[in-house]
Symmetry: C2
Subunit: 441 residues, 2 copies
């Protein structure tokens, strides 16, 4: 039986361990930290997750029942709720029919749920194992900081954006690698549940709430207990300039008046003083594997900024793609090699989209032109059905369309939209000319 | 007195230590390896260096005498000597006047020369110090693998392309970073000295010899003892396919017939079996510093492929630029910050040029059009003097023109060349039309 070490018991690592174990591999899952289920230490810098089609598809492929459990614990969000400066609200649906939803879930909660599954399935789960070194010269070997050495047939690195597996892999594979810090910090805030027993939510719970203010923004995603996890995004110099109570309050009251009331002034100030300010990192590399010995997936291979809600969904899809290849290819080496050569353009596509979507979320959603374009997009979809799909729909609700295919289709559609626009303007001018002529007669 | 730890006693590290010490800093130079002057272990994967204007300028700025010593130990190369398939030779001068030269010198030799200077100047020099960790939270601290801890005011990382200082810096600075392995391996070969006592050189010693063969090439640079250090560059799949004596010999006799005779069949085969195959890495990052506490220079900050002969020259120029800023700026923090913000576009420019120059060396030098363009370039320089300079001249012989300025000037000149070409073609067509008309009369 092929032995696999999965490094990193986060979301993607857990799912990979479960999937590989189901396929008959002998899996051990190593985690640097202690069991998160034992402690109540939260890092206070989470951004709620939005599970969408690609994530759900991977979950279902690996364990239909697990997928149902996860789906029973989410809150569907069918659209964005835009909060303007005066507190006016505007709902913008994500999907054509208004029912397509991305699903809010708390990261720690989902992680614990997956860890429970891992344990139930008999996978050996080892916490407090800090990877020190990997040796891939002969049989893959992991050397941990406690001097424990483990030899396996295959190493799967799912140890996040500062991946130690990736760092070690670079000593063997000739890996191209790019990382870029985005000039944007984020800070976790929270909107508490209300006191109304029938509806504990202080905001509409089926929306992702956005306060778009161009260079900065606030968002809020619902939790099952009625609270909202809220995140403030802003350029570093701005967030660092908010360095005393007065400037924080003044700023928030000016730009997020309705939110201040919900968060509470005291808690807002506490968060600014005590919560860590997160960095946003975008990274990608290629190849993702070395021979038939090691591969990296999830954030270890491609961290992206959170603005398309695809980080975890993409990581889950990594697992799905890898499992499929392990099944269809003649050897593990072939599967890993094909993974690197075929998955790269999809990962590159979503990383770039995620970067671009900051503009849409913080700025474009405010624009009339954006809304008009969206209406035309939806209209064309209604007429042309599957032959015309909005980009957001393809990314979030159509796991059968790869990221790169989605981007290419979108570019083609955009060109056509351009032609239509030109034609419309041309016809309008022609009409105007005729009208003008008839008036002169 | 400000204390500085320079990490890495290679070429750039030694020069930085010397320069900082001369400016009055209290310098300690740490090196991972043992003293190279004690052992005769060569790594067998050097490519000879070509010292040119930027390197010399930095050396002179720091120590005029040292510069003269170095220059007395080099062999000037005034041009490329192209070897075609039949062994025919063609000299292509680097400079306008045929006397401008880049200067061949052995890397280990230059390194030892610099180490001797470092020792003479009283800088504390510590070998066998492997950096384990850096702490930049408060006062900069270096922690070595032997558990030695050293606190200083400033850390200068000159520890090469796999820099540990850079790796640690990334934990503090929000550093964008890109690395790319070029699909090209290299192998060190050697042409021995001849037996003629008056001229021990088997090839013209004042040229950089090139056997350009499009996808692969061989080069050779002269050494003082009459030998040539030769390097074979080829894509990985090609070099890996040359895996037995017969295929190596067949390949070399087909493409480098005259060189095989000089290298010797036995030594060629020995090298293919025993010398390591080097990887070529291109990397860059930004920023290069963190506060007033640490900065990286040389290959640690910007590895480039060797095809413009600028790696070491650029690293020496880093030292020059940094020393100048430390003198002119009000504080160390200001100097480091200005270094990052101003040096980046120059480094980016030369890294890209180096990548592009592989095409020129391995391919374009064979093209008639390339030679014609070069002639026009030289002609325009003769007419327009300083207002028209070939790119190679600006990069290699004009340290007063920054890399990025050189590239911009080159792009502008290229545009003008395009106009001239269009004008010439236009005039020629006009002439042809007139001629045609007159013939029809």
């Amino acid at each position: 039986m092929t032995s696999v070490a999965v490094v990193g018991a986060g979301l993607v690592g857990c799912l990979a361990a479960l999937g590989l174990s189901k396929k008959g591999y002998n899996v051990t899952l190593f985690e640097l930290r202690d069991d998160p289920r034992k402690s109540i230490n939260r890092e206070l810098r989470s951004i709620n997750l939005a599970v969408s089609d690609r994530g759900i598809n991977a979950l279902k492929y690996i364990d239909e029942e697990l997928a149902q459990i996860v789906l029973s614990k989410v809150i569907p969000m069918t659209g964005r709720m835009i909060h303007d400066l005066d507190g006016n609200l505007q709902s913008q649906k994500y999907g054509l029919n208004g029912i397509e939803a991305i699903n809010s879930i708390d990261r720690s909660y989902l992680n614990e749920l997956l860890l429970n599954e891992v344990e139930k399935s008999g996978i050996s789960l080892k916490f407090n194992h800090k990877l020190e070194k990997m040796d891939l010269k002969e049989q893959p070997k992991l050397i941990f900081q406690n001097n424990e050495e483990v030899s396996v047939d295959l190493i799967v690195g799912a140890d996040g954006c500062f991946s130690k597996v990736r760092q070690n892999l670079q000593k063997f594979a000739r890996m191209s690698y790019t990382q870029e810090f985005i000039d944007c910090a984020y800070l976790e805030l929270s909107i508490p549940p209300g006191s109304n027993n029938d509806n504990k939510f202080l905001l509409d719970k089926n929306h992702l709430h956005i306060w778009p203010r161009d260079k900065f923004m606030l968002i809020a995603l619902p939790n099952l207990d009625g609270s909202f996890t809220s995140t403030f995004f802003a350029p570093w110099d701005l967030i660092e300039s908010l360095d005393d109570d007065e400037s924080v309050l003044q700023f928030f009251k000016k730009y997020f008046k309705d939110a201040v009331g919900l968060i509470g002034e005291e808690k807002l100030l506490f968060a600014f003083k005590n919560h860590p300010k997160g960095k946003l990192l975008s990274l990608n590399c290629n190849p993702y594997h070395y021979q038939d010995k090691a591969i990296i997936i999830g954030d270890a291979a491609h961290s992206m900024v959170p603005f398309y809600g695809q980080g975890m969904n993409c990581g889950f899809e990594d697992v799905f793609v890898l499992l499929k290849l392990l099944e269809s290819e003649p050897s593990v080496g072939d599967a890993l090699s094909k993974y690197s050569s075929t998955r790269h353009e999809d990962l590159h596509a979503i990383i770039e989209l995620a970067k671009e979507n900051y503009k849409e979320m913080s700025h474009k959603v405010n624009s009339k032109l954006f809304l008009l374009k969206k209406q035309i997009d939806f209209m064309l979809t209604r007429i042309l059905k599957d032959r015309w799909l909005p980009l957001y729909t393809m990314i979030s609700f159509r796991s059968d369309i790869s990221y790169s295919k989605a981007v290419k289709t979108h570019q083609r559609q955009n060109k056509i939209l351009g032609y239509i626009q030109t034609a419309v303007v041309g016809l309008a001018l022609l009409g105007a000319a005729k009208l003008f002529k008839s008036l002169r007669r």
